[in-house]
């Protein structure tokens, strides 16, 4: 399942130095839990995003390990401290080896 995966991230464009900002992320993904069965009664194998990481200028903000009980289109909201201008890097790792990334810049001024 690597089709139609689209990350969406909401980060404020500007902030003051040392501000705490709220970040919202959502990625469209089926998150097949491994519990469902197809019409023949066979279990559909698990296919989920297993890790999500947010870094700012190389420093870690949050790292989340996901399991089958996270809903379709995993959504996360969290807070980050912004010491300076720079880039937020968001990384999602799929069970099938795919890596989805998204970058957002923020200006401190």
């Amino acid at each position: 399942m690597a089709s139609g995966v689209k990350p969406r991230v909401k980060v404020p464009k500007t902030a003051s130095a040392g501000d705490i900002i709220t970040i919202k992320t959502l990625i469209s993904h089926k998150m097949e839990s491994g519990q469902r069965k197809d019409s023949d009664g066979n279990k559909i194998p698990q296919s989920i995003i297993n890790t999500f990481t947010c870094d700012f200028n190389g420093q870690n903000v949050i790292n989340v390990e996901l399991h089958g009980a996270i809903s379709t289109n995993p959504y996360f909201q969290f807070e980050a401290t912004v010491p300076e201008s720079g880039d937020f890097t968001f990384t999602w790792n799929d069970d099938d080896g795919s890596v989805y990334t998204e970058t957002k810049s923020i200006a401190v001024g």
């Binding site: 705490i20 900002i21 709220t22 839990s33 519990q35 469902r36 069965k37 870094d55 700012f56 420093q59 870690n60 903000v61 949050i62 790292n63 989340v64 390990e65 996901l66 399991h67 089958g68 009980a69 996270i70 809903s71 379709t72 995993p74 959504y75 996360f76 909201q77 969290f78 807070e79 980050a80 401290t81 010491p83």
Partner: protein, 139 residues
């Protein structure tokens, strides 16, 4: 065969025991997951807040938020799910607050457990019961 009142009572007691067994199995699975996270250390109450709805109409997307000031990582568990693991938040040096929210799947009415590992190595735990109208694990 004659069914005496005594036979019926014994049968009933046996059936009740069997019916209770899966519940205990689920509870111990989440206890195991907590033990794996804490390394067997005891957990205390307080210092962690879990926000979850009292009633969730759709078990496929239940919004939950967890906040634990001073925590390094927080694990979320759903005791009544086939697999109790939900997710683990690890807060890095630039996290603005030790809080996060997400949406989870719940198989049925159950308690959601959050355990936080504090910076000093202690563990705190809280839980919240969510009533689920339609389960979210497929059939």
């Amino acid at each position: 065969m004659d069914f005496t009142r005594r036979d019926a009572l014994i049968l009933g007691a046996g059936a009740a025991t069997v019916a209770l067994l899966p519940v205990q199995a689920f509870a111990s699975a989440s206890d195991d997951a907590i033990a794996a996270f804490t390394g067997g250390a005891a957990t205390s109450e307080g210092g962690i807040e879990l926000t979850a709805p009292e009633i969730a109409e759709n078990g496929n997307t239940v919004p939950v938020a967890v906040s634990a000031p001073g925590a390094v990582s927080v694990i979320l568990l759903a005791a009544g799910n086939p697999n109790p693991d939900v997710c683990t938040f690890n807060f890095g040096p630039l996290s603005g607050s030790q809080s996060a929210s997400t949406r989870i799947r719940l198989a049925g009415t159950q308690s959601v457990v959050a355990v936080a590992k504090m910076a000093d190595g202690s563990f705190v735990q809280t839980s919240s019961v969510v009533k689920v109208t339609i389960g979210g694990c497929g059939g």
